[in-house]
């Protein structure tokens, strides 16, 4: 098989893989749709507990939003570097993304721990159940994203930046941008919505 045809075959495979990953993201979006729908229906049922505006801190939520937004931005810059084949820049930008994502995750865990300490557990009422499940699912995705960044960066350090790695990074950055978009709605509906 000629080199050119092999390359064409690879390009088609990449195109298909990216499309497939996009379809996966759509299924993820639908899973979040259920969680948002459930939250929208149940958030008023804060039986035996506090309502959102007595529990949430807007400045904290804003900090989390900015962390995630910035990480989405640095992830995009890392992707540009990856397409240009600049390994060192890729490691730096995705490293920054990792740190920002980790900071976000720690803030979220801290918020969860504080809520549970106050007795606002997921078992308390429907509002808390839907809140913890929605944010927990997003947090779980962030955790998976962080693991993924770590694994990819590890392989890049070991094997260098070949086209397989660029494909992995492209999927990773789609995933990360997607999580940021989901967070916009969590910030808007859950946090700011509680103060309306």
């Amino acid at each position: 098989m000629s080199h050119e045809r092999l390359e064409h075959h690879e390009a088609e495979a990449t195109d298909r893989a990216m499309f497939g990953f996009w379809l996966y993201l759509m299924t993820d979006l639908l899973m979040f749709a259920i969680l948002f729908g459930v939250y929208a229906v149940l958030h008023g049922n804060a039986i035996g507990g506090e309502e959102g505006r007595h529990l949430f801190s807007l400045p904290l939520a804003l900090t989390e939003t900015l962390l995630l937004l910035t990480s989405s931005f640095t992830c995009g810059l890392g992707m540009i570097a990856a397409r240009l084949g600049k390994k060192k820049q890729v490691l730096t930008w995705f490293g920054v993304t990792f740190v920002l994502g980790l900071a976000f995750l720690l803030l979220e865990i801290d918020e969860f721990v504080k809520l549970i300490d106050e007795g606002q557990t997921p078992q308390l009422n429907a509002f808390m159940s839907s809140f913890f499940t929605l944010l927990g699912t997003h947090g779980l995705h962030i955790t998976i994203g962080l693991l993924w960044i770590a694994a990819t960066l590890g392989y890049i350090m070991k094997r260098g930046l070949n086209h397989h790695m660029v494909r992995k990074l492209a999927m990773l950055s789609l995933f990360w941008h997607f999580l940021d978009i989901v967070w916009i709605f969590i910030f808007t509906i859950v946090y700011m919505g509680a103060f309306v």
């Binding site: 990449t14 810059l77 940021d180 978009i181 509906i189 700011m192 103060f195």
Partner: protein, 229 residues
């Protein structure tokens, strides 16, 4: 972006540093404006909710265009097609659930909500039977809370009088009925947020002796009795 390169490579579908910077700045703007609106309470209620949700959607579109570069690939653009159809389903799932369950709650609700509804809509009779809603109101009674003191501590009223809660303090109060933690509804009312300058009035349609208190500060409490006309 030029379309000629798009033949097999994905080269042209990706952003430049410039597009990412534009996207980032626009996203920041779309984060801070609704945040400011919420914190400063420039508009309130459903208008505010609608405004921040619209800003959320705008920010989503910005990120889709500048970060995800959707719609820039070769034709036919299946990514865009699937995003569009999925998003329609998302709206159907969320909107449909709200529509159906809200309608259900409207028709089949706990008795408290039904009472509140009857009061709010001033429905006095259903199928010839009295609902207990007052057609007209008579005397007005006022309970004032100032410096954490309830005045008067006990109010004597007749059925279909009104009772107004006035809060003179800076802090927000939530008037609820019954003992703290074990709240009861009175005439369908579960919770009355009262702030300085915003009073709340209820119609005394249920007879008996009732206790009310501030949910946020349970020590602040009082009584009112309602006798038949």
């Amino acid at each position: 972006m030029n379309k000629k390169q798009s033949h097999h490579g994905p080269q042209n579908e990706h952003g430049t540093v410039q597009s990412y910077v534009i996207g980032f700045v626009l996203s920041l703007i779309c984060t801070f404006i609704p945040y400011y609106l919420v914190v400063e309470k420039i508009v309130t209620g459903n208008t505010l909710l609608a405004t921040i949700v619209v800003f959320g959607f705008v920010q989503m579109l910005i990120q889709i265009v500048f970060f995800l570069h959707l719609g820039r690939g070769p034709k036919p653009n299946w990514n865009l097609f699937f995003f569009g159809s999925t998003f329609t389903i998302v709206l159907a799932v969320v909107g449909g659930s709200i529509f159906i369950i809200h309608n259900l709650n409207y028709h089949m609700t706990p008795s408290d909500k039904i009472k509140k509804l009857l009061n709010d809509e001033n429905i006095q009779q259903i199928g010839g039977a009295d609902t207990g809603v007052c057609g007209q109101t008579y005397e007005s009674h006022i309970v004032t809370i100032k410096d954490g003191i309830v005045e008067p501590l006990q109010t004597e009223a007749k059925r279909c009088d009104t009772l107004t809660f006035v809060n003179e303090d800076e802090v927000e109060r939530e008037i609820t009925f019954g003992e703290h933690e074990d709240h009861e509804a009175y005439a369908g009312e579960i919770e009355l947020p009262v702030t300085r300058g915003r009073n709340k009035t209820i119609t005394l349609s249920e007879e008996g002796l009732y206790r009310f208190h501030d949910h946020l500060d349970p020590d602040i409490s009082g009584y009112f009795t309602v006798q038949s006309k």
